[in-house]
Amino acid sequence: MTSTNLASPHGAALDSAAEVQGRSLWQDAWRRLRTNRAAVVGLVVLGLIAVAAALGPLFLPWTYDQIDWDHVEALPPDFANGHYFGTDSIGRDLLARTLFGGRISLMVGILATFVALTIGVTVGAVAGYVGGRTDQLLMRFVDLMYSVPLTFFVIILMVVFGRNFILMFLAIGAVEWLTMARIVRGQTLTLRSKEFIEAARASGGSTPAIIFRHILPNVLGVVMVYVTLTIPQVILLESFLSFLGLGIQEPMTSWGMLINDGAAELEINPRTLIIPAAFMTATLFCFNFLGDGLRDALDPKDR
């Protein structure tokens, strides 16, 4: 590459300019993120937990709903039996249940956030770009939803539509999109008056094309930060629903349910609370560190 530069006839000034590699905004952000120790640790630990939750159950001698009939009792960790973290009060392997519960919790977190992302970004981008009456109508609706106590709303939805795994993340997603819509709308409003959007419009781009090709890529950064901060909130909300008995149903399980079960026998068997609680809080910590790190990386104000 250098040789071609040297061969160019444009002289020294251009040569040195060509040697400076172009760095995109994302590369810049990535470099900054890598220097943030908490965010990197968060990312790595999250990756480990996700892999363990996704693949771990395949390599364990016990499944999450399998009862060890020789020991229908809470067993301390025992490597000979393959109960590496012991069992719960009716003899189910705690490690298998924790990993499986992690699968469910993470899945609810990610899927619900994805639902919120889809609705929020669409509403926000349309409101911000189209403006006028559409904007007023959509934002008035968001304002209205804001004054409804959302946890109440999720609970009402769960009661009305029954406890169903799919409905759960749809219900959570349906109430978590509001902030996303506001953020995206604000960003879109500032983007709308930029020259490149004007150019796209002048060259005949349709409204959906401009929104998807030009607006969305530019709000992605802010949205990503918000996504990493929403996932832990959703995981918490799910655990809270499970705590109230409105979450996932037996024998399926989630971290929230395991914690709730463990709390019931906290005095005699604290292990059944501590292990799932440790997994969950570690995950929440990591998401928060990562989210904070991403925000600093994408919006460097020398914090």
Binding site: L244, L246, A263, L266, L273, T281, F285
Partner: protein, 315 residues
Amino acid sequence: MWSYFARRVVIGIPTLWAVITVCFFLMRLTPGGPFDAEAPVPPEVLANLRARYHLDDPLWRQYVDYIINLLQGDFGPSFKYHDFSITTLIAQGLPVSMQNGAAALLLAILIGVPLGIFAALAQNTRRDYIISAGAMTGIVIPNFIMGQVLILVFGVWLKDSVLHLPAGGWNDGALPNRILPVFCLAVPYIAYLVRITRGSMIEVLRANYVRTARAKGLPFRLVVLRHALKSALMPVVTFLGPATAFLLTGSMVVETIFQIPGIGRYFVQGALNRDYTLVMAVTILSAGLVIVMNLIVDLIYSFLDPRVRYDERAP
């Protein structure tokens, strides 16, 4: 300015009405009714029950009746606690929830805001890291885990010591019964307040007018307290508006764990029992409080920041 608030109040009423309407129809669309959970009831009895609660009226009729009653301050009869009107239940539960909520709010402000300022002034030092890490912990650890652990420590392990606190119950609001639930309610809010205060204080301390104040030679303490604090509190106030509404209407988790007869626990039981009127009453109350609190937040803004003025015409 007052015309602005009049306008806001006028907007608030249809908002509340929309919330009531959506909730009402959502609850009535439910497959299964409030009398399903009980042992199979003979059809005649069920018909009588439905007639007593006007559930066999046409839906629009029920809706109109409900709104009319609501305007008179009557939330209707409870479907589950026969012989109780919802208004009575709320009148019993709301003061309990509000007292706990107010205490928790006060605690959160008194601890959270000073800690946040303290951390901001020592940005990127060990003191800052310790406070920030503590705040993160407070946010990440769910309320219901902390509640259980607190019960275990103070209610069980320390049973025979001076520090013993009751593990639950209300006991007509005796002080020892309040300590754990209030603390448990306050912790997440302390954590959020620390984070918000710290963030906005750091931002404000970089503002030009703060630099000017320092350049004039004012003592740093004075600059922080007199110049920076006011505008640093803006995001705090924004957060506190809805937070106050939620705290005052009671935490479902904390009231369930500590068995406190507040409206948060009523809501949970109502939802599980499909006690429509109870669930709706709590939802309407909370929505109304959120609307009122947001209004108050706007009012406080204009005191904190002279640039915020409401008498101008919106562009």
